[in-house]
Structures are given as C-alpha cells and as structure tokens.
C-alpha cells in the first residue's frame, strides 16, 4: 500500500487587496500518493500556484489542513518549514527564480551547502546534476547569461539537489520553445521512473501524457479528476 504524501482537506486561502478579499482556494480536498505523478491545470487565477505554495509550505492556508509527509504544515514555524523544504521538497518555479549573483553551478550547489555537506561533495553533486540536465559547460555562467530553457534546466537541477521525494513544478514549459520543452519533458519522465512524487502545474499535452492523474482547477476548487 502506497503512503499518502499530500493530504489537503477543506483548504482555503484568501488574499486581501485593500478592502477586497480574493478567495484563491475554496474548501479544496486533495490526496497524492507516494510515487504518483499528478498534473494540475486550469485557467489563470484558478489557484494553481497558490496550491503549490501551500503544499511546499511557502505560504499558510487561511483555513483547512494541509498535511505533507505527515506534517501539518500550518502548525509549524518558518525554521521547521525551511528544513522541511530543504530535505523533502524540490520546487521548480514558473519564473525559474535563480539567484542572479550566483553562477549556474553555485545556484545548484546552494541547497546542498545549506544542508551542510562538505565542500568536495557539494561540488561533485552539483556537477553531476548539471550533467543530468545537459548543462555542464554552463557551470560558470550567471543566470542573465543563460537562455530561458537553460535557466529552467538549472532550476530543475537545483530542485533535485538534495534528492527530495516530492517535486513541485510550476508551468515548466510555458515560456519555452518546442525543443527545450521536450528536454524538460525528458527530465520529468526520468524523475517519474525514479519513483519521485511529482505535482506539475501545466497545460502542456506532452506532460499530460506522463501524468497518473490530472486535476482541473477552477475558481479555487477541483472541478474534474481524470485518472
């Protein structure tokens, strides 16, 4: 029997803009099992990125529960959540979010260094990850010197740095050309074979074919599930 990695119940998240309250998620229920590849799609403003933020502990729900690897994330402080993310979650952001003053290699090495690995192992592991995403020759380049596709692949390498069990990916191919998008699909396929639990927000048909389950999100709730 596979373990439950993510369990969300009655999950709500509101944002306040002046007097206006925007309900990004409304009583959402979700379960993701170990090794499952779940794809989330929906129109802009449906709450997809908010859901990923709550699963990774980047944000806290307004109400409801979100339990990841048995931890009720709303109950923990920032320190615990940072350690939790470092050890269990790899997040690939839509806008890559690479640190501009660090080179590609240093960006990948950052989470490993945070985990306190010795320097030599940090270097070896970072180089290996750069090889995995096909960019060993770009190790010493800064993010601004890389193309969008290359930045996305560096972001993947960084997300895999501490070998997390759960990988969250937000619109990985949205800004990329066809060929680079295929490279990302290849990486996701490889991760799936390795048995990682993957939650991807995308509209990409090629990634949809890899998914065990697709969820359609609209107005902060799941309106359809396809297995």
């Amino acid at each position: 029997m596979k373990e439950r990695v993510i369990s969300a119940s009655f999950l709500c998240k509101n944002y306040h803009i002046g007097d206006l309250i925007i309900e990004a998620l409304k009583n959402l229920d979700l379960e993701v099992l170990e090794g499952e590849f779940v794809l989330i799609y929906g129109s802009s403003g449906a709450g997809k990125t908010t859901l990923l933020n709550l699963i990774s502990g980047l944000d806290k729900p307004t109400s409801g529960k979100i339990i990841v690897f048995g931890h009720d994330l709303a109950a923990y402080d920032e320190n615990f959540l940072a350690t939790f993310r470092s050890a269990n979650v790899g997040f690939v952001f839509q806008s890559y979010n690479l640190i501009s003053t660090l080179t590609a290699l240093e960006n990948v090495a950052f989470p490993i260094e945070l985990a306190g690995w010795p320097e030599e192992r940090v270097r070896k592991r970072s180089e290996k990850l750069l090889k995995l995403v096909g960019l060993p020759h770009r190790a010493n380049h800064f993010p601004t010197q890389l193309s969008g596709g290359e930045q996305q692949r560096i972001a993947f390498a960084r997300a895999l740095a501490n070998d997390p069990s759960l990988i969250l990916v937000d619109e990985p191919t949205g800004n990329l050309d066809l060929e680079t998008g295929l490279e990302i699909v290849r990486i996701l396929e490889e991760l799936k074979t390795k048995g990682k639990t993957i939650v991807v927000v995308t509209h990409d048909e090629r990634i949809m074919q890899l998914a065990d389950r697709t969820l359609h999100l609209r107005d902060g709730g799941i309106v359809a599930t396809d297995e």
Binding site: N97, T101, F142
Partner: protein, 619 residues
C-alpha cells in the same frame, strides 16, 4: 502622459522605494543642517563660556576642531545624499529601456525622470532642512534640561541656505548621471538586469570558501554587486571619517590640551612666596578658568624677596626634585616691528611687519635650565646662553604681534628677541618669560620673589612639613595640584560639550547604514525569498544580511577611520599626546561605533524575514 502626471504616478506607485529614498534624503539633510548649526551653537557657547578665559592657543584648538567637524559633516552629508539619489535613479534604468523600446523620445524620457528626481530632491531637502532646524532647537532645550548650559544662537540662515542649495545641486548632478547613462544605451541593454543594479557578469578570482557558507554568500553578493557596494563603502567611509575625527580628535584633543596645561604648570609643585605675592600668583594662574580683576602690587618690594640662602636650604631638602626660582612683576611691553624678506619681490624684498602696540603683561624671570614648566612652544625654548631673548604667551602673541617669530619687544628700556611662543595658562597667556639674569639686571634685584618646588609625591607629607619648617611662618607654602585640578576640570567640561558632536555623527552614520541596507535588501528581497523557498532558514538569511553589513562596515571603517586619524593628526592637534589609556579609550569608542553600525542592519534584516516567502517571491 504629461511631464508632471507621469512622474507623480510613478513615484506614488513605487510607494516603498519612494518613501525610503525620501526618508533617507530627508534624514541626511536634516542631520547635516542639525550638526552644522548645533556645532556652530556649541562653538559660540564655548566662546561665550570662555570669554576672558582660556588662552588664544587653546581657543584656536577648540574652534579648529569644530570647523573641521562642520566641514566634514557637510561633505559626509553630500556623499550620503548623492549615494541615495544615485541608487534610486539606477533602479529606473530598466523603465527607461522599456519606454525607449515602446518608442518614447529621448527628450520626453529625460524630462519625465528629471521631474521625478526634482520632486524627490526638493521635497526631501525642504523637509530635511526644517527637521534639522527643529532638531537643533529640541536638542538644545533637552540638553539645557539635562544640566548643560547651551544658549540658543540666532540661526545662520546663509549657512542653512548654502547647505540646502549644495544638496539640491549635488543630488541633481548624481541623480542625472544614471538617467543620462541609461538614455544613451540601446533599449535592449537598458532592459538587461545586468544594467539595473550594477551586477557584474564576472567571477571573483578569490572565493573565501574556508570562512563558511554565510560569509561566502555575503562576500559573493557584495562583490558581484560591485557598483552599489562601492558607493556604500565610499558613503560610509565619509561618515566614519567624520565619526573618527570627532571621536579620535575629541579624545586626543582633550588629553593633549590637558597635557599642555599639566606640563606648563607642573605636577606635585609647591608655591613658596610671601602671602600677597602668593595670592597674586594664584590669581594669575586661575585666569584660565575664572576671569577676574587682579589688583596691582609692587612685586619688587624688598619684603617680598626670598633670599638665596633660603632657596639653597629648600633645594637640598630630601624629596625636593627641582627648585624653580622666579622673579615676577607686571610691566608694559612695547611691540618692536620686524622685517620679512620676500624673495618674490626682488626690487623691494623687505617688508616691515608689526605695529607699535603696547600691552601690560606678567613678566617672569626664570632659569631656563631649572624651570619646572615644559611648555608646548612654537619656535625655540630659552637656553642658558640666552640673555635678551624671551618666550611669550600665546594670547600676548596673538593680540600684540603680527609675526612674533621675526619681531621683538621693548621692556624696561631693553629690547628682547622673541625666541618662541608658548601655550601657558598663567595670566591666560598674557605672559613673558625672560632669563632671570636679564630681568634681575634690569630691575636691579638679584633674588626671586616666587619659588616653585617640585616634590617627590611618594613622600609628600614629610617633604611638605620639612619645607614649612624651613620657610617659617612668614612665607606661604601652597600646593598647586588643586589649581591644576581645576584647570583640567574646566577643559574636561568644555570637551564634554564638544563630544556631543560624535554622538550625533554616529547617529547620522547609523541612519546612513540603515538607509543603505534597506535599499540594498529591497533590491535583493526576491533573492532572499528564493533562498528561503529552497530551504534557507530565516536565521541564515539574517546572518547573510548581517555579514554583508559587517563587511561593508569594516571595509569602510578601515578607510574612514584612517582618513579620520590623518585629518586629526595633520590638521587638528599639534604635538598630540597619546597614552595607553587614550588608545584604549579610542579603540573602545570606535568599536562601539562600528558595533552600533553593524547591529543597526539587523532591523531591516529581521523585517525582511518576517514577510512570508510567497509574498516575497510574488514581488
């Protein structure tokens, strides 16, 4: 969009950045205006308190100190203002690129951003000037309530206007630079993130990886944001030079001036003379801290003479280390003009200097080889072979001579050369020291009327009782240490008022660092958010920010403090006295200053990590 509508919308919609820059500029302007008028007030107060007291030499040390601090203060304020404006406009480079890319004319872009710059600069400078004036009033009221006595001098409106105009011009000059630079580059380049905040696409040659992860990250971040880091270092170095001059200069000047007095009066000195002369001598000595009228006395009255036999008997008492017989009197001295040779005027190289001024002065005949006074002398000291040469006090030199080094004076129908000018508290510097033998010949008296004895402090009471026994009941034996103590307390009191300046300079420096850190952190906020999103704990982010501040503070501290020492020793204090205690005091003060500066960065750091990661990333 009109040339006014765009800038106003742009400024109001960047609320955080606009308010940060306005606050930073306002505070810098306010601090400069405040420190300048407060410094002037303090200088005025010292002149007022010391009216009729303190010698000219000592007064000039105080006024030079306040002038240098004021000048440095204006320079530091201008550097801070230009730094803040430059950062603000650097962040507009990207927008300029966008506007040019969408077809906006160069002239329109220039007028949009110039108007924006002018709105910010004028708003901040006006508010800052008003706040600075109000702070000065408030501070003087507060200090008076706390027991200091500082009178409110009428405001120097010209000085305030000068600071205001200087700041407005400097802000525009430094603010226009990045705008013009951005307008000149191609839109594609201006849009590059490399252009917007001075990030350089180069790897550092040296990566201090052995110093730990936090240091490595902070170091990389600073090094790869070279432009803002350099600006911050220059800015803080200027402020820290100001802090150093006020702290180092204040402490050293205090100790040095105290030392000048201590050396001139001497320690463990006993005054022996007849009661009338003794009272007069003490009055002359007290003029330094207590101006009062001194009556006349016939010092050459035979009843006041101390016999040579008595001097000899007192000199050989065990515990008496030095005997300094003095013949004192008050007489008129007449300035004798001197001649200066000007090699640049070969036709008529000789220029006469001096007038025919006259003044009443206290004249002392001393034996140069046995005097207990070790004055600070400009020129040369007297020696055994001198006959008609003299040392004159600094106040006398100031009021009765134009170039004492080439002039002389006439006294008791005899001309004297001026060997040097000494800093001496006796009669507040209106004093003349001549060789005993010369004065003795002129007044036809071979014995002294005042005897100073330097005694061994370890055996004080026994030596004193023996001196009293030898002197008998007619002569008065008086220890001068009590009067010396009063001199030192008076100087301390003056310096304690002056030392208020470093306190405020330090506050200025702290505000400057906080402004820099807030702008710097705002620029890096997203990156700190990313770090937290991939597992960095809030404490790790705080450590990184703190380390960045520490590196900037230490580097600028090293530059600023060295510059401060240079200004202090070269321009402020001649012949400084630096004891072990002085060094400890200075190091302690500077450490406190640097710690306050570094710790102040914790405020924006803590504020940053309090925001949720998601909201930081969405900015």
């Amino acid at each position: 969009m009109s040339e006014v509508a765009f800038p106003i919308k742009d400024l109001t919609r960047r609320k955080l950045q606009t308010s940060l820059v306005i606050v930073g500029l306002t505070i810098s302007t306010a601090a400069t205006v405040f420190l300048t008028i407060f410094g002037e007030n303090l200088g005025f107060e010292i002149a007022f308190v010391t009216g009729g007291k303190l010698t000219a030499g000592f007064s000039s040390i105080f006024s030079r100190f306040i002038i240098v601090v004021d000048l440095l203060n204006i320079v530091a304020g201008a550097v801070i203002v230009s730094f803040l404006v430059s950062i603000m406009m650097s962040e507009r480079v990207r927008d300029i690129g966008v506007m040019k890319a969408t077809g906006c004319l160069r002239s329109t872009v220039l007028s949009y951003f110039l108007t924006e710059l002018s709105i910010i600069v004028l708003t901040s400078c006006i508010i800052g000037t008003i706040c600075g004036i109000l702070a000065n009033f408030a501070c003087i009221h507060l200090l008076n309530a706390l027991g200091f006595s500082i009178a409110q001098k009428p405001l120097n409106l010209w000085m305030i206007l000068l600071i205001f105009i200087t700041f407005v011009i400097i802000s525009h000059v430094f603010g226009v630079r990045p705008i013009v630079k951005a307008i000149r580059v191609k839109p594609a380049e201006a849009l590059s993130p490399l252009y917007s905040f001075g990030t350089i696409p180069e790897l550092s040659r040296y990566s201090p990886s052995k110093l730990g992860f936090t240091f490595k990250m902070a170091y990389r971040s600073l090094l790869r944001r070279r432009l803002p880091t350099q600006q911050a270092i220059i800015c803080l170095a200027a402020v820290l030079a100001l802090v150093s001059v006020t702290i180092v200069g204040g402490i050293i000047a205090n100790q040095t001036t105290q030392n000048y007095v201590r050396r001139a009066i001497g320690e463990n000195v006993v005054l022996i003379s007849y009661p009338d002369v003794s009272e007069q001598y003490v009055n002359f000595l007290s003029q330094f801290f207590e101006a009062k009228e001194i009556g006349s006395l016939n010092y050459l009255n035979p009843n006041y003479a101390i016999s040579e036999t008595l001097v000899s008997r007192l000199s050989i008492i065990p515990g008496v280390q030095k005997a300094d017989p003095r013949l004192i009197l008050v007489t008129m001295i007449y300035e004798v003009p001197g001649v200066i040779i000007d090699p640049e005027r070969p036709d008529d190289p000789y220029t006469s200097v001096g007038d025919h001024r006259s003044s009443s002065a206290l004249v002392l005949g001393i034996n140069p080889e046995s005097t207990i006074s070790e004055w600070l002398i400009l020129g040369r000291t007297l020696n055994e072979t001198d006959l008609y040469s003299a040392l004159i006090g600094d106040s006398l030199a100031m009021k009765s001579f134009d170039s004492p080094e080439v002039q002389g004076f006439r006294m008791l129908k005899q001309n004297f050369d001026i060997a040097g000018v000494c800093l001496d508290p006796l009669d507040n510097g209106d004093v003349v020291y001549v060789p005993f033998k010369a004065l003795s010949k002129l007044v036809n008296q071979t014995v002294c009327n005042v005897l100073l004895l330097e005694i061994d402090p370890s055996n004080r009471s026994e030596v004193l009782s023996e001196i009293k026994e030898v002197c008998g009941t007619n002569l008065k034996v008086l220890e001068l240490d009590g009067i010396l103590g009063k001199h030192l307390s008076f100087l301390n009191l003056l310096w304690s008022s002056v030392m208020l300046l470093p306190l405020f300079s330090l506050v200025n420096a702290t505000i400057c660092l906080i402004s820099y850190m807030i702008l710097n952190i705002t620029g890096q906020q997203r990156e700190f958010g990313i770090m937290r999103a991939i597992g960095a704990k809030p404490n790790a982010v705080i450590k990184m920010i703190f380390t960045q501040a520490l590196i900037v503070t230490l580097v600028s501290g090293a530059i600023g403090i060295l510059a401060g020492f240079f200004v202090t020793f070269v321009f402020l204090i001649p012949d400084p006295v630096i004891s072990y205690f002085t060094i400890i005091l200075i190091v302690g003060w500077l450490l406190i200053a640097l710690s306050c500066l570094s710790l102040s960065s914790l405020y924006p750091a803590v504020k940053t990590v309090k925001k949720s990661v998601a909201s930081t990333l969405s900015q």
